[in-house]
């Protein structure tokens, strides 16, 4: 389990697909990457778990809550992930 952080420079799109959430009983993971996208440029990996979004712990967030949180970051998106 490696924890790592990335800071993606805005604006959106960030170039990844978020999957899971508390309501789906699945961890928030990166299920897909847009090739050459901002996430891919920062070496985010497919299957990596999202641990925190903008410093906020992502555990216990529903999919919509996580989605909204990410959408709220317009200029810059800080993520902590684990592969």
């Amino acid at each position: 389990m490696d924890l790592y952080s990335v800071t993606l420079e805005g604006p959106a799109p960030w170039g990844f697909r978020l999957q899971g959430g508390k309501d789906f009983n699945m961890p928030l993971t990166v299920s897909r990457l847009t090739p050459g996208g901002k996430a891919a440029q920062q070496n985010v990996g497919v299957g990596d778990w999202v641990v925190s979004i903008d410093g906020v712990n992502a555990e216990g967030l529903t999919h919509v809550e996580a989605q909204n949180k990410i959408k709220a970051c317009t200029d810059r998106l800080s993520l902590t992930l684990s592969r």
């Binding site: 959106a12 799109p13 960030w14 990844f16 697909r17 978020l18 999957q19 899971g20 959430g21 309501d23 789906f24 009983n25 699945m26 961890p27 993971t29 299920s31 897909r32 990996g45 497919v46 299957g47 990596d48 999919h63 919509v64 996580a66 989605q67 909204n68 990410i70 959408k71 317009t74 592969r83």
Partner: protein
């Protein structure tokens, strides 16, 4: 000038002619005398002659005239010599006168004076010089010649006399017979020397020679009967007074004083002699007195020294010695001194008597020197004897006292030692002692015996000392003997008592040993027997749990075996009790009072008997119990068989059904609906079979109540059957459910039957273990075979999807879901987005009123509340983002 050699030679004394000649050299016969000298001589000689002639009742006036006829000359000679001269011639003729003078001169010559150059004619003729010379010769011969002072005679003697007598007077220095006398002090000194009462010499002054001379002359005339022969003025005024005159006058002094001295001397002599006599007499008396005293003392002392009464104690003897010492130190020495003094006195006396020409002293009878000497010898003899005796006695007494003290000491020590021994020996402590105590007492007694033996010679010593005291005649010997006797008697008694005690102790020891042996025997046998009995009791009461008939039967046979050993045990018991009786018999018969507690064992014979009875009691009890158990076991066996019979049928049946169900699900014969029907049939059969299970349950309960835990007649336990039955029920239900879900899935995802069969075939293929579920590795292999080149990460992701619970098994349903999802998931979310887009009129966002218009109110409200605001390009107020909402619905958002 003519050398006058008037050497007057005296017969009895011879002078150095030279000296005399020196003196006479001054006189020159032919020359006139120095007028001064003539004057002085005349006066002096006249006075001198008159001092003698007045004894004959006559005087002369003129010295050259009055002697011319020779009569007065002869008279003078007679007076001064004291001898008669031949009768003078009474004629007046010259030749008569010459004859008389010649008679005088002859007389002088007959006295040893050689008259040279003096003739009678010159005298008759009145030759002054001759006459004076003759008178001087007479004076010299009769007044001066006989002077002898300290072996010096005549003029020198006289001079010496003057010097001696005037020696104390510092201002007088007589060196000659002329100038030394000028100051008159010499005369005064002479007077004062002999008659200090006549003159106060201290008042005299050297510077008053005249006064001094006159005084001396005066006193001499008045008190000494010496006429004034000198003229004071003449002497003073003449530078060198006439020597002869001075000599003549001085010689008168000599005769006056020396005479007195002679008288004194004579008186002294007499006194001395008398004194010596008196002294001698006193000495004799003293001697007598001392001798008596000494003899008396010796007489008294000797008996004391010969006293041989012995004293009793050393102290008094020592006192005697002390007295003797005092005697020697204090009383005798003065006596020794006295004796010595006596001897000295005697010797002195004898010597004195001898010296003084008296007969030797003869002490009175019994006081002779020899008497004293012998008495003293006796004394000393007695002393020695006494001292010896004292020392011997003291030695003896010392020894006696020492012995007596030794005796007392030893006796005391012994008595104190022996004091309590009697009591100890008479103790009967062994009567109630244990064996070890008796043995200890024996040891102590042994020690005592050796102590006693050690004391034997001490007692002998005491007796020996007593004996010696007897021999040495100790004054308090009776008491000693009494004490010695007491000691010896007690000693014998102790010996006897010791012996008795020894015997008693040994006897007791023997008995106690015997008893001890019996105790030991008892212990040795009782212990194992007791153990055996306890073991037997334990065994007989042993709770047994048996589960088989064989078990109980073995117990029964063991019990029978045990019962066979009882008679033997009984005889052992009796033997043991016999020992106890033996012990009691012995102790009663020998009166041994001791607690009959077996030191080797705590087991009592009563205990043994009690246990034995108990054992006897337990045996039949056991019999009964065993039999009961046997019956029970038999009944259990029956139950077991019953159960087994049933279980052996049910078990396989369930098994068969399980296989059939599993087979049907794996087999893919027919449609899912066909499978469902078949399954329903199975279900029906199963349900109808339930009563069998119930019955089995009933049997099982009986078995459990009977506490039967095993059943060798069947391998199937109730649990097995139960579990199997439930598994069957669940399996059938699950299988049916699976089929239902498959049907649903098929319908939902539009999978054809062929697809389904394909999926089934793959699944079955990779379900290596044919469990109805793929393991992780199986799944991986499956994916690989389907062309999925997966990295570990991707595979893990997929695993979480297909096996969200992490069970490690991928079910067929999950497999189908996964397979169909992969191809359809994005479509589903996209389809919803596409649907929203249509409703939104191809806008990237949708408005609330559009939702309300197109969808039922409830769902529209659901969307409005949950859709996030659209933040994309070309947004309008109230724009809602349906894309993210849609993806969120599926848990997937593109961001």
């Amino acid at each position: 000038m003519t050398h006058i050699e008037t050497s007057v030679i005296y017969n009895d004394q011879e002078y150095d002619q030279y000296e005399y000649m020196v003196q006479e050299e001054e006189w020159d016969r032919d020359l006139l005398l120095d007028p001064a000298w003539e004057k002085q001589q005349r006066k002096t000689f006249t006075a001198w002659c008159n001092s003698h002639l007045r004894k004959a009742g006559t005087q002369i006036e003129n010295i050259e005239e009055d002697f011319r006829n020779g009569l007065k000359l002869m008279l003078l000679l007679e007076v001064i010599s004291g001898e008669r001269l031949p009768k003078p011639d009474r004629g007046k003729m010259r030749f008569h006168k010459i004859a008389n003078v010649n008679k005088a001169l002859d007389f002088i010559a007959s006295k040893g004076v050689k008259l040279v150059s003096i003739g009678a004619e010159e005298i008759v003729d009145g030759n002054v010089k001759m006459t004076l010379g003759m008178i001087w010769t007479i004076i010299l011969r009769f007044a001066i010649q006989d002077i002898s002072v300290e072996e010096t005679s005549a003029k020198e003697g006289l001079l010496l006399w003057c010097q001696r007598k005037t020696a104390p007077y510092r201002n007088v220095n007589v060196q000659n017979f002329h100038v030394s006398w000028k100051d008159g002090l010499a005369f005064c000194a002479l007077i004062h020397r002999h008659r200090p009462d006549l003159i106060d010499y201290s008042k005299l002054n050297k510077d008053d020679p005249l006064g001094n001379l006159n005084l001396a002359l005066e006193i001499a005339e008045k008190h000494l009967d010496i006429p004034k022969m000198l003229d004071a003025e003449d002497i003073v005024n003449t530078p060198k007074p006439d020597e002869r005159a001075i000599m003549t006058y001085v010689s008168c002094f000599y005769h006056a004083f020396a005479g007195a001295e002679q008288a004194e001397t004579a008186a002294n002599r007499i006194c001395k002699v008398l004194g010596v006599n008196q002294e001698n007499e006193k000495l004799m008396e003293e001697y007598e007195r001392l001798a008596s005293q000494l003899l008396e003392w010796i007489r008294r002392t000797i008996p004391w020294l010969e006293n041989r009464t012995p004293e009793k104690t050393m102290v008094s003897m020592q006192q005697k010695l002390e007295d003797f010492r005092d005697y020697r130190r204090m009383h005798k020495p003065p006596k020794v001194q006295e004796k010595c003094q006596l001897e000295i006195n005697f010797n002195t006396l004898q010597t004195k008597l001898r010296i003084s020409n008296r007969p030797a002293f003869m002490p009175s009878e019994g006081k002779m020197v020899s008497d004293i000497a012998s008495a003293w010898q006796n004394l000393e003899q007695a002393e020695k004897g006494y001292e010896e005796w004292l020392l011997n006695e003291i030695r003896r007494l010392e020894r006696l006292e020492h012995l007596a003290e030794k005796f007392r000491q030893k006796a005391s020590i012994h008595e104190s030692w022996a004091q309590d021994k009697e009591k100890i020996l008479s103790r009967k402590d062994y009567e109630s002692a244990s064996l070890t105590e008796v043995r200890a007492l024996l040891r102590k007694h042994e020690a005592f015996e050796s102590d006693l033996a050690a004391h034997q010679d001490r007692v002998e010593q005491i007796a020996a000392i007593a004996q010696e005291l007897n021999e040495l005649d100790y004054h308090a010997v009776a008491e000693v003997n009494e004490r010695c006797q007491r000691i010896c008697d007690l000693w014998d008694k102790l010996g006897t008592m010791t012996q008795k005690r020894r015997e008693a102790l040994e006897r007791t020891e023997k008995l106690l040993e015997t008893i001890d042996q019996l105790f030991l025997e008892f212990a040795k046998r009782a212990a194992p027997f007791n153990n055996w009995m306890e073991g037997a009791m334990e065994d007989l009461q042993d709770m047994f749990i048996v589960h088989t008939v064989e078990e109980i039967q073995s117990l029964i046979s063991a019990h029978e075996q045990f019962k066979a050993t009882l008679p033997e045990a009984d005889s052992e018991r009796q033997a043991i009790l016999g020992i106890q009786n033996e012990i009691q018999k012995i102790s009663h018969s020998y009166n041994i009072v001791l607690s009959l507690t077996n030191p080797y064992s705590t087991i009592k014979s009563e205990g043994i008997s009690a246990k034995w009875d108990k054992v006897k009691q337990l045996v039949p009890q056991r019999d009964q119990a065993l039999q009961e158990e046997l019956a029970r076991q038999h009944s259990n066996e029956r139950l077991r068989r019953q159960f087994a019979a049933q279980a052996n049928v049910i078990g396989p049946w369930i098994q068969k059904k399980m296989e059939e169900i599993a087979h049907s699900s794996i087999e893919m014969s027919g449609t899912l609906e066909d499978q469902m029907t078949q399954l329903k049939q199975y279900e029906h059969v199963i349900v109808n079979y339930k009563p069998n299970i119930d019955k089995l349950e009933g049997d099982h309960q009986l078995i459990q109540e009977s506490l039967i835990f095993d059943n060798k007649h069947t391998n199937y336990t109730m649990e097995h059957i139960r579990v199997g039955w439930e598994l069957l029920l669940t399996t059938i239900a699950r299988t049916m459910n699976e089929i239902e879900t498959q049907i649903l899935t098929r319908d939902a995802k539009g999978i054809s039957q062929e697809q389904m069969n394909e999926f089934r075939a793959s699944f079955n293929h990779f379900d290596r273990k044919k469990k109805g579920g793929m393991e992780t590795d199986d799944f991986r292999a499956c994916l690989i075979s389907m062309g999925y080149d997966l990295g570990e990460v991707e595979f893990a992701r997929i695993m979480t999807l297909v096996d969200p619970n992490g069970s490690g098994i991928v079910s067929f349903q999950s497999f189908i879901d996964f397979m169909t999802r992969e191809t359809a998931d994005t479509d589903t979310a996209e389809q919803v987005i596409a649907s929203f887009r249509i409703l939104a009129g191809d806008k990237p966002y949708i408005l609330a009123e559009e939702l309300r218009r197109e969808l039922p109110l409830e769902q529209a409200q659901y969307c409005i509340t949950r859709m996030p605001a659209y933040t994309g390009p070309g947004k309008a107020p109230g724009a809602l983002d349906y894309s993210s909402f849609s993806t969120a619905l599926y848990g997937e958002s593109d961001l």
